[in-house]
Symmetry: C2
Subunit: 198 residues, 2 copies
């Protein structure tokens, strides 16, 4: 009975909608509130485009990653198109609607850095690419007095990666300054990593 109860609980009580919450935050969470979804969008902003690269950088199970990518395409935040370099595979790219998520994602990330990171040193700093000014906690460039489009933001590594730091190709690609939404170098992962239509 405990098994049945747990399953019912997860399938019903913890479903992904908030039907009786007539609130913009609830609508947002219905789209990006599922586990892994915001981390996938983070990687997409970093310039990750291929299933294999998301898979190499995240630790999400293939089935979860595939489902979340499909949901993000369905919500219009990512677009999926054939990969010209690999028959049968796909590229996922951030849409204009997806780009509008940037200030909220950045604000949440900054909050995590300031309040939830247990005194860890910042690992990355985000700068307005055209002037080099670090963004404030709300993704705004104080010098130019704008919230730059993510294509005008560059992520810079801070310090030397510690022992145990990730060495997957996405992590390695971010060890030098990199402009958001510029494709990262491709990961060399076996072709069969990408599920059908993932």
């Amino acid at each position: 009975m405990d098994l049945l109860r747990s399953l019912w609980f997860h399938c019903n009580v913890l479903r992904s909608t908030y039907e009786n919450q007539d609130c913009s935050l609830a609508r947002a969470l219905e789209i990006i509130g599922e586990r892994w979804t915001l981390l996938i969008m983070r990687d997409a902003f970093y310039g990750v485009r291929r299933f294999n690269d998301f898979f190499a950088h995240l630790d999400a199970p293939r089935s979860v990653l595939s489902g979340r990518l499909t949901a993000l395409v369905g919500a219009g935040l990512l677009v999926r198109r054939p990969d010209p370099d690999h028959g049968g595979r796909h590229l996922y790219e951030v849409t204009d609607k997806g780009k509008t998520l940037w200030p909220a994602l950045y604000a949440l990330r900054t909050w995590g850095e300031q309040q939830a990171a247990d005194d860890r040193e910042p690992r990355r700093v985000f700068k307005h690419a055209c002037c080099g000014e670090p963004l404030d906690p709300t993704a705004r460039c104080g010098r130019c007095e704008v919230v730059p489009d993510p294509t005008d933001v560059a992520v810079h590594p801070v310090g030397v990666p510690g022992e145990g730091a990730r060495t997957d190709p996405v992590a390695m690609g971010l060890r030098k300054p990199h402009r958001l939404l510029t494709p990262l170098p491709e990961t060399d992962v076996a072709p069969e990593t990408e599920p059908a239509f993932a």
Copy 2:
């Protein structure tokens, strides 16, 4: 076996940490990424303080609500103290650390309003209380050029509530302008609604 697999999946694959993601966003999501948690914080910013009032306004099951409140207390975003008006019950109040979540929560809410609300009209507008200027999408007052503390933000209803709009006491309390973090009127709910030490 399907039952067992689903249970294992939810308990292990979808656990609430992201152990190998050395990233501020992952740390943030470990604290506020669980289902219902951000909606509880939203209500706490609105001025909800009692378990019964969270329960009346949210549709979260009692056990989930109790667990999330306890986790938020553990993370230092809420503080729980005895309710002076009701022996054995408690008040939950947003801490200084909790207040730092406001710009990120507001940015996510605004994104939901602009991108995820399916053309629904905005139901609330948030203004800098001292000047009346609506906040921009990053929680900033453009007139005063600051991101106001949430205690300096007032939420104003927009339009007339439609048929089927919520009529719980929290929703009713928000039908007139209300300053964030100012306690809302108490809900008249049976005392036994609050679980032990919830």
